[in-house]
Symmetry: C2
Subunit: 223 residues, 2 copies
Amino acid sequence: MSRPEISRPRIVEVRERVLKQNDLLARELRSQFRLAGTRVISMVSSPGAGKTSLLERTLTILGPLRRVAALVGDLATENDANRLQRSGVPVKQITTGTVCHLDASMVSAALADWDLDSLDVLFIENVGNLVCPSSYDLGEDLRVVLLAATEGEDKPLKYPTIFNTADIAIITKIDLADAAEFDRNAAHRHIQAVRPGMRVFELSSKTGAGMDAWIAYLNEGRS
Amino acid sequence: MSRPEISRPRIVEVRERVLKQNDLLARELRSQFRLAGTRVISMVSSPGAGKTSLLERTLTILGPLRRVAALVGDLATENDANRLQRSGVPVKQITTGTVCHLDASMVSAALADWDLDSLDVLFIENVGNLVCPSSYDLGEDLRVVLLAATEGEDKPLKYPTIFNTADIAIITKIDLADAAEFDRNAAHRHIQAVRPGMRVFELSSKTGAGMDAWIAYLNEGRS
């Protein structure tokens, strides 16, 4: 079959320019966060891996103890922000339209009327996607990749870039691990194959199993 | 906070040109499929929603009865092709590198050494992603979007474009629906809100529940 040439080099060039601009703005954001003493933690995963559920439980636990807030990204709907409002902490939704990731300019715009000095920890929930968010630095201190026990153990091998750009991994929905016949050892082996030495948590936002270790880790980072 | 201008209009322009070229090639593919009498069914979903499992079971059932084959897309690994080889039908892996979707040129290249005339049905499994594949026509007759019961009921509202570009929806992993507290009615309501009248199947590739209706549907399309 014939194949018309598709102008890939052109796209790569434009994409590199955008990424460079994003990196510059992300660097600016990072220094603002540092100056304000705000620790910024972003979350990436497939759609439905449980970012919002984990965030809801985390905000509810941390909310009374520290000054926390969250930005949540989605193509459409304010559903996540509405869910997270229940935790009582400041939450803002970023809707991206057709864009499959957050970028530094979206984060910057969302923070324009927030006083960073009054925040200890800011969570940023990215759009559910295992590809697009990899390349966009948001100025965060820590990037967390979530992998649901119901998704299968092979995701780190199939989406190595996103696991590589993340700092820690969390295996979510472990209450469903047995029912889903999740192969825990294979999952850990695949994560380590892609990102040797990566710290991995296992938890269930529904039952609360494993939440203590995750919260303790967040409090460690406090210093 | 200051926001450097990011050259979005430029990207849109390049993207439109690529899409236009893709549409032209997809149209060419579609007429080749029609001429050869090959029905082409593509599958899109989140990572880990069960495309490969459903395909494996479907190929195993259809393989002895009809001339079927499959193309499977992933950023990395030949895992899916290896799994599907077990069904005994011709399978080819397309690895996209960092690209979050298949396009018509990848499909065309993968088919270059296959004889379409010898195929009744060709399945194309897209990269696991609820955003990027929406805009790329692959010349398929039928686009199927999968939604796992473990992913939550809100995905159609959060990713309306991909549900809109699909012809039918399949709710997978229904064996885990109770354990995941999946709200079946809400899922159906959200699908219909985004795509009124959309036909929806529910099944489990693991237990086989609901497979009969899906296979019967595929056989209907035979005429």
